[in-house]
Subunit: 326 residues, 2 copies
C-alpha cells in the first residue's frame, strides 16, 4: 500500500484527499495517517491540509523498494525490485536471483556495495548515499552470441536518460561506458548464464556517478559525476526509473529486430568515437584507425591507416582515444 | 598418499614391495599396511605376499576421489576432483565451484543425482551405483559465442573413449548426444558464465548410461547402456579417466585452432547424421534436408530439397532423423 500511496501522491498535481485514499485501499483514515507518518519518518515531506488532504512536496534520496517502485511506469523493467542498504555486488545478487528463478525485468539496487566490480575484475568504488548501483535481470530467448549486444542497448538507454533528466552532455564511449567531457560517468557490466539452447539469463549492472563531488587524485582526470558536470544534486530513484523506461523501449526494439540495426543510428549519434582516431589494442598488436560507429551487431567499424576496413568486436580489443580523455 | 599408493599399484605389472612404498612416502610399514586395509575395506582386492609385496588384483566400481585421481594421467583435465555420493546435480556443483574460483580442469563426479537435468530442463534419471554423472569446469579465454563448440569437442571425446574402452559402436548424434544403434547412450549439457570480455567459465556435464540393464518402457526404444550393448559391465572410474584423456587432447587442439576445423573430420567420421535425411525443426517451420556433417564452427551443413544449402546452428533448431531411431 505504501508504494501505491506514494504513486498516487506523486501523480497528483495537487492534494489527494484522505477519503480518496481510504476508498481506494479499503482502509480506515487512521491506517492512511499511519502510512503518512511512516513516510515522513523516512524523509518525505508531506503536507496535510484539513478538507484538502495530503500533498507530497519533497522526496528523500533513498532507494527503498516503495520509493523506486512508485516511480516506475514500465510494463516489465523493474517491476520486481530488491533493494539493499549494502550488499557485496548488485550483479552477484541479481545472478543469485537469476539462479533462483526470479522473473524477467527484476531489478536489484543497493545504496552501497562492499565488492563492486567493473569490467576485467576492476574494483568499482561504491560508497553509500551517493551513486547508483543497479542490476537488471533479463531472460531473453536469444543465442549466447547475441547477449553482449544488450550492453550497448543499456549504454544507449543510460545516455538518453541522463541527458533528458540532468541536461548533462552524456555520451557513449564504445562499447559500454558513458562519459561527459571525456570523463567516465557510468560503467556497465553485463554477465550471462547460457547453455547450448541459448541464454538462461543476463544480468546488466549499471554504476552511475551521481552526487559525488570529489575523486581520488589518480582518477580525477578520468572520472566525473552528474553533480560535478551540472553543479546540482539529483534524486537517484528518479534517475533509476528514467533508465528503466528508456531501456524497456529500446530492449523491445532490439528483440523485435534481433540485433542493433534499429538502434544503431541513435547509438552512433551519441558515440564519442565517431570520426575520431582510435587505437585498437588487440591481443598481440596495436594499430591506429578512424572509427565510423557501430554496425548492426554492435561491432565498431574502423578504417586502418592502410585503408582496410575492419569490424572490431568488443570482447577481443580495447579502444583508446588518442586525443582528449576518452 | 592413498591416491599415490593406488597409482603405484595400478602402474606396476607385478608386486610393489612394502619397502618401496615406505621409502617413497617416508612412512613406516605399519602406515602402509593401514592404507592397504582401508583400501580392502573399500572393496579393493589386494594380494600381500611376504618377500614380494602388494599387488592390486581388482578395483571396485566406486567414485572416490582417490580411485578417480589414481587413474588420471592428464596434464590438467580432472586434476582437481570433487566426488559426491549424492548431489543435486554435478553441473550445479561445478558452477558453484566456478563461482568460487576453482581451477580450470576441475572435475565433479557423483554416484547419484537428486536433480539431474538434460537439455531444455528435462529430467535426467540418476540412480546410484550404475551410471556416470560428471561435470568438467573449464576457463577458456574465448568469446562467449565460441563456447557452445566445446560441447562438440566433448561429444567427440566421449564417443572416442567409449569405442576404445568398451568396443561398443558409439556414434555422435549432432550436436551433442552419443548413440549406439540409434539409441541414446550419453547426453551432454554445457553451461557457461560469460561477460563482455568473454567466457568466465564453462561447465560441461556428461551423463553416460553404463551398467543399467533395463529402461522404463516409454524410453526403451530410445535409450540404451554400455552393458546392454556389450553384455559386459564396466568400471566407471576407468571410463571417466578415458573421457578426460581424450577430451584434454582435443580441447588443446580446439584452443590452438580457435574452432573445430582441426576436429571436424574426426567428428564427422563418427556422426550418424552424415548423408542421412534429417528433419530440421526451426521455431515456426520444419523442413527435410540431407546432412553432410559439421563445418568448422560446429554448424550442421544441410542441403534442402530445393537444393539450397544451409548451415544449421544448434541453439536454433532440433534435428530429427527420419529413418531409424535417431
Amino acid at each position: 500500500m505504501k508504494t501505491d500511496i506514494l504513486s498516487m501522491l506523486r501523480k497528483s498535481d495537487g492534494y489527494v484527499s484522505g477519503q480518496q485514499l481510504c476508498e481506494r485501499f479499503h482502509v480506515s483514515r487512521t491506517a492512511v495517517w499511519k502510512v503518512m507518518e511512516q513516510l515522513k519518518e523516512e524523509g518525505y515531506r508531506i503536507e496535510a491540509v484539513r478538507s484538502r488532504g495530503y500533498r507530497l512536496s519533497e522526496s528523500p534520496d533513498i532507494l527503498s523498494v516503495a520509493e523506486i517502485e512508485s516511480r516506475i511506469s514500465t510494463r516489465w523493467a523493474g517491476r520486481n525490485v530488491s533493494s539493499f542498504r549494502e550488499t557485496d555486488s548488485t550483479n552477484v545478487q541479481a545472478r543469485r536471483l537469476g539462479e533462483a528463478g526470479a522473473p524477467h525485468g527484476t531489478l536489484v539496487a543497493a545504496d552501497a556495495q562492499s565488492g563492486g566490480r567493473g569490467r576485467r575484475g576492476r574494483q568499482w568504488e561504491s560508497p553509500p548515499g551517493r551513486d547508483i548501483y543497479m542490476s537488471l535481470l533479463l531472460r531473453p530467448q536469444i543465442p549466447a552470441a547475441q547477449a553482449p549486444m544488450l550492453t550497448l542497448v543499456m549504454a544507449l538507454a543510460v545516455a538518453d536518460a541522463l541527458r533528458e533528466q540532468t541536461g548533462v552532455d552524456a555520451r557513449i564511449k564504445w562499447p559500454n561506458d558513458i562519459v561527459a567531457r571525456g570523463r567516465k560517468l557510468c560503467g556497465i557490466l553485463t554477465e550471462m548464464s547460457a547453455d547450448m539452447d541459448g541464454v538462461r539469463y543476463v544480468v546488466i549492472g549499471v554504476g552511475i556517478n551521481v552526487n559525488g563531488t570529489g575523486f581520488p587524485e589518480e582518477i580525477q582526470e578520468r572520472a566525473t559525476s552528474l553533480a560535478l558536470e551540472s553543479g546540482r544534486r539529483f534524486l537517484r530513484p528518479a534517475l533509476i526509473a528514467a533508465v528503466l523506461e528508456k531501456f524497456e523501449a529500446r530492449y523491445d526494439k532490439f528483440m523485435k529486430e534481433g540485433d542493433l540495426s534499429g538502434l544503431r543510428d541513435d547509438y552512433n549519434a551519441l558515440l564519442v568515437n565517431v570520426g575520431e582516431q582510435v587505437r585498437i589494442l588487440e591481443p598481440g598488436h596495436e594499430y591506429n584507425a578512424i572509427s565510423s560507429g557501430i554496425n548492426g551487431k554492435g561491432e565498431l567499424l574502423v578504417t586502418r591507416e592502410d585503408g582496410r576496413q575492419e569490424a572490431v568486436f568488443a570482447g577481443e580489443v580495447s579502444v583508446r582515444g588518442i586525443y582528449g580523455y576518452v
